[in-house]
């Protein structure tokens, strides 16, 4: 068992325990030590973490590089925003409908995109996301146009056993976002560890071979695209609650780039990686902008150093570091198979 693969399988099997331990600590911390960093930056990290994790269902687990993932993030934000502003639909129902709406949009757009491969797939997802952006800006009566959904999102207090909780208070919103993030993480973990997840990884490694095993690679890619869209819708809905509205910025292509970099920094071989990447990127920006408006220079330098020296996601233990020289893969000595076959003749 080579050192790297052992490490990776350990991380992959234990990421649930690590994730739950971290979540438990994060849940209790603000109750004992009132840190405003957690209550203000925390939700933003969690929302972007779920968004990056949703992208990783495609990027790390199915090998699909989407440049337009913000379309479904924005769809979730606008669905929740419109429902809660203009109809009597409650918070829970709006969250579910936001996820469903985003997944549906992903099904429609995904149907076209999964027909193309590699760079053409990426470019088509970008094109469709920008078309969604144009529609959002033009549909002023529904979406508020380029001004966005203004007027705030009314969130009535929720009865939780003896207490009535005002969800707009920073602590309540933090705990709500944290619990939904944990739920999304566990559901995603079940999905990637399922037999369906196994075939996603097969599609990532070699889509053609999957066709020869009797499964449709395109069908699997589309299902990954829709699942990722659904989770992105949840992240978008939570962002709408965080800012109290939905804005075209949530559908613009720069919002699609953010999760890509979070997955790269955090690591693409686990589900926890993107969450770590979100914490690093959002956390760093929040801290740097406190000291200088030249945050681009500082963050840019850090990213350059990261790309050239670490060369792999933070949680990608044992993943193959790409080598700057095309070192030929070492000739691997036969392990079993043919050698053993010779003896058993």
């Amino acid at each position: 068992m080579t050192h790297s693969t052992a490490l990776r399988s350990i991380v992959r099997r234990t990421e649930v325990t690590w994730g739950l331990v971290a979540a438990a600590v994060a849940a209790v911390l603000p109750l004992i030590y009132p840190s405003t960093f957690l209550l203000n930056v925390g939700p933003q990290i969690l929302v972007m973490g779920v968004f990056a994790m949703s992208l990783n269902l495609m990027l790390g687990y199915t090998g699909m590089v989407s440049f337009g993932h913000a379309a479904y993030f924005g769809m979730g934000a606008y669905t929740l925003g419109i429902l809660m502003q203009k109809t009597a639909v409650g918070l829970a129902a709006s969250l579910v409908l936001a996820v469903a709406g985003a997944a549906l949009l992903a099904l429609v757009i995904g149907f076209f995109c999964v027909r193309l491969g590699t760079i053409y797939f990426s470019m088509l997802t970008l094109a469709f996301a920008q078309i969604v952006y144009t529609v959002v800006i033009r549909a002023t009566p529904l979406t508020g146009g380029d001004q966005g959904l203004i007027g705030g999102i009314p969130v009535p207090p929720v009865r939780l056993g003896p207490w009535t909780v005002a969800l707009r208070s920073p602590l309540a919103f933090y705990e709500l976002t944290l619990s939904l993030t944990v739920a999304a993480f566990l559901l995603a973990k079940v999905l990637v560890d399922s037999r369906w997840g196994l075939l996603l990884r097969a599609v990532r490694d070699n889509g053609d071979r999957v066709e020869f095993l009797g499964a449709s690679a395109r069908g699997l890619r589309l299902s990954a695209f829709v699942a990722a869209g659904g989770f992105a819708g949840l992240a978008g809905a939570l962002m709408a609650l965080y800012v109290g509205g939905a804005y075209p910025d949530f559908v613009y292509w720069t919002k699609s780039a953010e999760p890509i970099f979070m997955v790269l920094i955090g690591g693409m071989h686990t589900l926890l990686g993107p969450l770590v990447g979100a914490a690093v990127l959002v956390g760093l920006t929040a801290v740097i902008t406190q000291y200088t408006s030249l945050w681009g220079l500082v963050l840019g330098a850090i990213l350059v150093a990261f790309t050239l020296f670490l060369k792999v996601g933070l949680l990608d233990f044992g993943a193959e570091r790409w080598r700057s020289r095309a070192a030929a893969a070492p000739g691997n000595p036969p392990v079993g198979g043919v050698a053993r076959a010779r003896e058993a003749k």
């Binding site: 088509l124 078309i131 144009t134």
Partner: protein, 299 residues
């Protein structure tokens, strides 16, 4: 949708000529930047997000070299950007040739952040305007009854000359043949004893020169500010995709196509113009993924 205006415009020579010239102007500047992007991607397989920042640096450098006469300033600024491109390639990009595509994007995205702030430090956070050089401050030239400013004629001439020059370079010179071969099969070219590292550096410098030249030509007529490379980056991606990934001829056709859609689109569909370009891109991707000319890279 304003088809009445569109029909009326197409019927009058004045409207057609002037919209045609404006299509040429936007198209040619876009071609200079997009051809650089396409060349770098075609030969080196690198999607350079920072290409827009090189366009910005070209504009800033020509603004700073304003004291020299315009011709010298133009070439000097474009060469300056070429040198910056060489530095970026030799110090950083050379390490990511074999990196997965996404790590190249992360690195070049980081360049955007750094270069925009560097521009802000050197030339200030506010926009600056260079103004058209005095040699071109004269009444517009008239083609038929359509006015075409002298400076725009200059852009059209330079744009066409550079396009033809680039085409000749790629098809007639040895360096051009090596570039096209490297675009097709870098490993084989290396096997033939060609120093691929030098070719890659050369191509990146050429790409940077073209982006810088685009910035230099645009500087006198557009306001210059940190981050101005952003919008032309997205448009260049569209051009490269529509024209065909890695193909310079495709980039020429794609750039002019975008120029026409912008010029005549603003007449026919004033409100939709932004989405129109992306619908065109989606249509090309779905019907001819390898680009309008079908010469894009087979991936």
């Amino acid at each position: 949708m304003d088809l009445g205006a569109f029909a009326q415009c197409v019927s009058s020579t004045l409207c057609v000529v002037s919209q045609l010239t404006s299509a040429l102007i936007t198209g040619l500047i876009l071609f200079l930047v997009a051809s650089g992007l396409s060349l770098v991607f075609g030969v080196m397989g690198i999607l350079n997000f920072a290409h827009g920042s090189l366009y910005m640096l070209g504009a800033y450098l020509s603004f700073s070299l304003l004291r020299l006469n315009f011709g010298v300033a133009t070439v000097a600024a474009a060469l300056g950007v070429a040198v910056i491109g060489l530095l970026l390639e030799r110090v950083f990009i050379r390490h990511v040739y074999r990196a997965p595509l996404l790590y190249q994007l992360l690195l070049t995205y980081a360049f955007i952040l750094v270069l925009d702030d560097v521009a802000k430090l050197i030339w200030g956070y506010d926009f600056v305007s260079m103004g058209v050089p005095d040699a071109f401050r004269r009444p517009p030239i008239f083609i038929g009854r359509a006015p075409v400013p002298a400076y725009y004629m200059f852009i059209i001439v330079v744009g066409v000359v550079v396009a033809v020059g680039l085409w000749l370079l790629l098809t007639r010179t040895r360096f051009g043949r090596i570039i096209r071969a490297a675009a097709d099969n870098p490993t084989m070219v290396a096997a033939l004893g060609v120093n691929v590292a030098a070719v890659s550096a050369g191509v990146f410098v050429l790409g940077s020169f073209l982006a810088g030249l685009g910035g230099v030509l645009a500087a006198p007529v557009r306001s210059i500010f940190p981050g101005m490379g952003f919008s032309i980056l997205v448009e260049s991606f569209i051009v490269v995709v529509i024209g065909g990934l890695g193909s310079v001829a495709g980039a020429f056709v794609g750039a002019l196509l975008i120029g026409f859609v912008r010029a005549f689109g603003s007449v026919a569909f004033p409100a939709l113009e932004e989405g129109l370009v992306f619908m065109l891109m989606a249509a090309v991707l779905l019907t001819r993924p390898r680009g309008v000319l079908g010469v894009g890279k087979e991936l």
